[in-house]
Amino acid sequence: MSLEDFSYIRPDLLRHTIASTLKDSSAFDSEKVLTEALFSEKQRLNREGFSWLTFLRLKRDRSLWQAVRSDLLSSDPLIDFRARLEQVVSHFANEICGNFSETVYRLTTKSLPLGFNFLLNAASVKTILPWKFQEAVSDRIEMQGEIARLRKLSKLGTVLLVPTHQSHMDSVLIGYIVYLLGLPPVAYGAGLNLFSNPFLGFFMNNLGAYTVDRKKTGELYKRTLKNYSIELLRQRVHSLFFPGGGRSRSGAIESKLKLGLLGTALSAEIKNYQEQRNQPQVFIVPMVTSYHFVLEAGSLIEDYLSEAGRHRFIITNDEASQLSKVVKFFWHLFKSRSRMTVRIGSPMDVFGNIVDDHGKAIGPNGTTIDPKLWVTSCGVLGPDAKRDREYVRILGEKIVDRFYKEHPVLSSSLVAYAYFESLRKKHPTLELYALLRLTQSQRVVERTYVLQILERIMLKINRSYEQGLIQKSVTLVGQSPTQVLESGIEELGLFHGVSVVKVRDDYLTSEDLSLLYYYRNRLSGYDLSSHRELIQISPGVIDAQGFLA
């Protein structure tokens, strides 16, 4: 069963999701579960501001929770709380459950590249060339890694793609890559706020997206969401999660993952074994995207630096929500010679063991893993909450490890890192925030000095590359530090309207150090900084001075 059969499986998906959630809740008193859900939902609804785009949805929510409140306050002993709970779970499940329209999918996958190709050729300098030399969007995407294995595994089980997340453009890019690879469309969870936009919402609703409302923090909603994901995977619908939970605020590769949804892969596989289904395995496929410029970089780094990210988890009105900026983004992307790089990482089983072309997980010393036995405890095959939580924690660690190892380094990240490092060396006593406030004259660094640092960093990167600890974009292969410096300066943050790094005579300077810091952070966690020797911290964790190591 695939997403293309969605309308056929949709009723079953909903039915199983509701039944599983009610079963999970049966250990608790229905009245208590409703009270807890009402409490968190009332808080959410009180925080919601008015918008014509969300008006109808919020009206429906308020009406439901008013009815729940009346029931809970009523003294009538005959009130059926179980039925009300079922109504609430059904409400959640219907909101989560997306649609999939094959017509819209075919139309979009055919028209989108055409539209993109038109934009690309309108923007590209190659417009002047004869038609046959015109470019295609796919030429601007560099795909690396285990592409063949991914294709094979998609026929042997259910694929769960787990990419790094930098931009809302990731969904568009990955959706397009899935199409280019000839894979069936994937289901993916997208923020409910994106569905509020009528244009985006129409496509999302019809392209296999299901809604994830991160403002709903109640247990009942989370349980429904997880069960929906489990059912999708069990129906062999290839899926996609961004395991980091949201876009990387700092620009660094995710080092901490949200394990809740990730655990649904193991739960689905265990259920498949219990029911002795065909092709029961779920394959976890990490993906790492690398961009020379990120549409929302300005908002994200501002959020990270103001530490608002801790309180304001969802940025609702950033660059991705403004159509003009999205069009401008693609215009700049196509106008430049810039390429996006995507690497398909080594597929793993639900325990984090690498899987071969035949879907067999390979353990240490060439042993073959029998996943059924890994979920068998004292001779009984089945779920075990505590054991499975540990498996998911280990899987999370393995995914992070793969993210770092599969990351294709771009020249722009290297230049941002080297230039930022040169500023740190010039001002060694300054903390992060003081460094980001350097005056224009303090930001000026000799080109040769940056080049020296870049050479040192490239040596380290090359050593790591040889050990399989990092990857390189094609544009980096065989390039000298001077060439990398030139191409990096040319590519870095083209979109932003300000120069993230610019050359003035034999000096480098920057018009926006926060953006420089954002792009530089993509290489944090690789032990590249000479300042690292003084700091004993884990990759991705903010150090005492406020820098990412």
């Binding site: 068998t376 004292c378 540990e390």
Partner: protein
Amino acid sequence: MPKDFWRKSRVVVLGGGSFGSVLAQLASERCREVMIYVRDEAQARSMNSTRSSLDHQSNLVLGPNIITVSDPNRILEQRFEAMLWCLPAGACREAARVFARAFRGDEILIHATKGLEENSIKRISEVLREEIPCPRIGVLSGPNLASELALGEPAATVVASHFPEVVDAGIELFHHSKFRVYRGTDVVGVEWAGALKNIYAIASGALHGFGYGMNAKSFMVTRSLAEMAKFAVSRGAQERTFMGLAGFGDLMATCLSPASRNFTVGYRLGLGEKLPQILESMSQVAEGVRTTAIVVKEARATGVSMPIACAVQDLIDGKADSKEGLVSLLNRAPISFDH
């Protein structure tokens, strides 16, 4: 869990030393069969015929459902439900590669090795995880002097794992009226505590050899606890683990008992003997000698202050001022501390 699951199970014990034999005997009372693996064929034959462990001085009598083998294929060919790993730290990587194929995936693996891998400074559970396709790994550690256990004296230990079923298995197999098994989850802390305490047992033994009394030893043991906790916490352990059996408990037993191998090494060093001569005369491995070198090197590289461990290393290296090195800790400038 199905009733009598462990009663019907087979348990493998790798390593037929005194501690392995005691644990094999405890497990044999709770399962169908225990298979002990030793490298030497003659020793296997001797253990099977005399029903006693390699350590002939102990009074331990091996139960009838215990069989000792020296052929690894006997382990590889037969299904087992749990394995107890009691090999010296230096032999773990190689043995793990040999026995990796014995695992199907649903077994429980508990190790009782108090040491570290020399070059990588990896904990034993890390080594086993890298080499063996068995996710459910735990560690058993505590104040467990094998000679006292063999006599049936009361004792307690900790089994720690991130998988509760591993701890459950440890309790099912080893918990007895005179051997209490406590639960733990801090695998990192328990393993570091077990490895580090051997260093301080050498220090304590040396003080005994120098002829010092309980004041000096208590001072040394207390500061040793702070030193080992500080080092282990910097590597991800939980400090409170060091207040328990695997930390303070094991440190007390090994630092104050002449039966401890590492204490004996320290004691003889304190008397002026040279290390090669001491090791040559010992039938069992004193992990503390290796561990001291590993930890001191790492502490120096990472800038962690470990004055006692460094003094022990000087003592092992036969430096002339080793006695002064240990005693000079008393003469340092007054410092304030709250533990």
